[in-house]
Symmetry: C2
Subunit: 420 residues, 2 copies
Amino acid sequence: MTQPTDKKRTTRRRFLAGAAGLAAAGASSARADNAKNLPPNVADWTRQLGEGVGVRAYGNPSKYEKHVIRRTVPWLTATPESSVSFTPLHQLDGIITPNGLCFERHHGGIAEIDPNDYRLMLHGLVEKPLIFALDELKRLPRVNKIHFLECAANSGMEWRGAQLNGCQYTHGMVHCVQYTGVTLKVLLEQAGLKPNAKWIMAEGGDAAAMNRSIPLGKALDDCIVAYRMNGEMLRPEQGYPVRLVVPGWEGNVWVKWLRRLKVGDQPWFTREETSKYTDLLENGKARQFTFLMDAKSVITSPSPQAPVKQKGFNVISGLAWSGRGKIKRVDISLDGGRNWRAARIDGPVFDKACVRFYYELDWNGEELLLQSRAMDDTGYVQPGKDALRKIRGVNSIYHNNGIQTWALKADGEVENVEVG
Amino acid sequence: MTQPTDKKRTTRRRFLAGAAGLAAAGASSARADNAKNLPPNVADWTRQLGEGVGVRAYGNPSKYEKHVIRRTVPWLTATPESSVSFTPLHQLDGIITPNGLCFERHHGGIAEIDPNDYRLMLHGLVEKPLIFALDELKRLPRVNKIHFLECAANSGMEWRGAQLNGCQYTHGMVHCVQYTGVTLKVLLEQAGLKPNAKWIMAEGGDAAAMNRSIPLGKALDDCIVAYRMNGEMLRPEQGYPVRLVVPGWEGNVWVKWLRRLKVGDQPWFTREETSKYTDLLENGKARQFTFLMDAKSVITSPSPQAPVKQKGFNVISGLAWSGRGKIKRVDISLDGGRNWRAARIDGPVFDKACVRFYYELDWNGEELLLQSRAMDDTGYVQPGKDALRKIRGVNSIYHNNGIQTWALKADGEVENVEVG
């Protein structure tokens, strides 16, 4: 834990000077309907035996957390099989996303694959084409890596100005888990690459047979053919039983339900890298193969779905990540980008993974324009939205990593607003 | 990823020389019942649209993973409300335990607490007694820490020799997640400690009102009043909405459904630290307040519930942890402890957290006695079971961190056996 500065310590003391003393709380609780549950009284749940072990062999969240779910935006796509559900970032903390809340993006729905019938084919410009059953992949040397996964279209609605009201919708196509699997490098070494090998095509086993071209250099660098997330087998909606992990690159190339890897000497120019997942510029030309997800951050709380409940001491919490490497620093602005101060990064900082940042604020009720700005260890600094638009125009859907602004109102409500 | 040595590389090549070539696999698949699903054929799941987004707002594992569950041993305790369910360690990898599979240990069942009615009382030898609502705890500065939690009774059946057949039962009372919360130190500073403060009593809000005494030094060092695990709110069976995190110490003091913290000048000698959770020695005396969980490890696969399926290249996988600090090294023996060689630790190594280790083995079918031995950064080395028994006898239930032995048979089956 980073030690708070003396200034913060003073602020914190001030906050708690206003916290309920035991006697006072007892007095007020006596008036409340739920007084029987407040200490020093003994609550109902202490008076009766609770549910035993074995009832829930695979556990689920409390019934009081039923509002913490992935959410969809029905008008966004024509069908639910080719759509998105968003991670509730405003209701999470730390850096690990629970598997049940990782956002979904499908192109032909969730393939339901019997792991006994699963096969991965590796062919093309290789010395020896190979087919792997799941058990064969599991026999190979394993690696464990914590990485973020962000859809290229995350924050895509923001190109033309502040749109959806909530970080679940503006930034919720990102999650971060620990993957276990075999490196793609090991598989390619087994097959043996031919001298003219330069690209790899990864194809999914879903109804869309989603496929993308990936340069060989990346494939040999840090890609993982993964079958586990956060310890257990991949979830169906995340590619069960096998997906490709392409650290730091757009989610679309992290092919799920991975069926086929083909080695070639040039890209395949598939649908998803020509008509989609390209960046249409102002002059009508499009940038292609823009795989990298640049440094980005967002304040997850307070945010439009997580308003401030009271004046005084509050924690500003957020996530930052970069496809280029490690997050080195996150700054916070309270005035829409005029002044910046360093946020506190708490918890582990991994390469191409989310980090959690905090900024402790003694809020007197004044209106604020909250922003966060991420910097990574390559020196890249997250740009403002207008700076991004100057180069890229507003035609694009993808790769919007501009600084997000939340307007905190006097009543504690928060709005998504447009500040260059 | 650690680079494999040349020797390992050769082994791996040898393994894959035996893997199915594309043509051969195609030929054999033509004979199989499920041939239609094998490449280069297109499987059923690619021919039909899958389930869309929004159907499972909170996701669950694949229907093909229904066997990956916490399991109970009905004869172990009189009632399920005062019992244990075990983490399926043999079916997991990496270091993060998914929340739904974290083992349970209750003394009066799972308290079902409405978070709006939740209160934490802090009183005793303090300047200002305080009561915190959940929202008030969330307003305080937060920390994120990944820690293991191990029940003192984990491996307790092994004191008198090899017993239960499976690491889920011998070692499954351990899990490892990322916690988010406020340090206990911050809370105590707010209340203000009186000069004679030396111990803290933590009490649960469950039907057992489980309570334990903790020395003030530990409370001020690294304890966390946590409300989140792996990003989301604590699960009900893990103390929702608030539990105490006592890094590196026995799980019994990580009080769940935390209701009360009382500061005193001596321990309370509660039921759980007098009649239970003490270590009965050979001479009839009992060690008390043996909080620390010493360095320990277990091979999770192969293990009795996870036999070896074929000869040739196989990955030995396991977990190691230490309540004293970081795991520095893990050794593997194939011959019951006569010869040792270093395992490869893969993935992050945190203070008082699980680490994942691997050892790649080219198995020719010979019978082996598999063991793992953990060393931490204080120089502590996990002892053999007999070495432990020499000092502690066999009357104890708790704190068995002896080296575990799995006998790998010629047919790939694995048994829990007794080797000093």
